[in-house]
Symmetry: C2
Subunit: 117 residues, 2 copies
DNA sequence: ATTATACGCAACCCAGAGGTTGCGGATTGG
DNA sequence: CCAATCCGCAACCTCTGGGTTGCGTATAAT
């Protein structure tokens, strides 16, 4: 999993990690111990998750005295969204090509990737 | 990984799986054998990946004669994007609150989650 | 009918993820 | 100084994920 996009998606695949991301999106910073208090796992487990998030570039750590505070760096989230959007665009243009090919009627632009219908 | 969102992110975490998704976004359908020809893994490996994608709701299979054709169903991608967008929104509103709190100046809306700077 | 193609199922292998416990080392507080 | 926190490192365990090989079976082609 050396590619950046893969690391981001992998980071978001775990529920505990998603909880951490959401938590850090709301409060400004948090420590592993604080987060562990709200999760069904130990502090070390949370520390590992934070390491994974840091590896994906989603989080930055800063030591303050005896505690290590983590902060969200949501940049890579945009990259992940871009990837999904790219797939949606290819899907849409393929649909447009198909539609245009089937009937010469006015081929209006389709929106983004739509929900399951 | 019983939660739907987790399954989608987990599906997108693997490079081969992402390749399959992109491939299916362009061509209309494909078989496991066809995809395996473009990937450094065996047909069975691709079949497992397709099963995972199907489990995440990203793909549907249809048997046609002796071959099984797979088609992309991009609905769940929107759900994944929504999750990311939700985090971005919370992040933005927190920033807005902070900015409004620090200085009474006109608090213009921030954009979406921005790229790494 | 026989051969070739495409699939599914099952067993198996191995590395890594997620988790725990057990320390030892800083830092803060009395 | 001594006790209480907070952290990081390391060992360990278990289970799943990605991958392979092997085989049986159904459909298609000759």
């Amino acid at each position: 999993m050396t590619d950046p996009t893969g690391r981001v998606f992998d980071a978001l695949a775990d529920p505990n990690r998603r909880y951490v991301v959401q938590a850090l999106a709301q409060r400004e910073t948090a420590t592993a111990t604080e987060l562990a208090a709200e999760l069904p796992v130990t502090r070390q487990a949370v520390a590992k998750h934070l390491a994974a998030l840091n590896d994906a570039g989603l989080v930055e750590s800063r030591r303050e005295g005896r505690e290590t505070r983590y902060e969200l760096t949501p940049g890579p989230l945009a990259a992940a969204m871009d990837w999904i959007a790219g797939v949606g665009a290819e899907w849409d243009s393929r649909l447009a090509r198909l539609r245009r090919h089937l009937s010469g009627g006015s081929p209006r632009r389709a929106g983004g990737a739509r929900r399951r219908g």
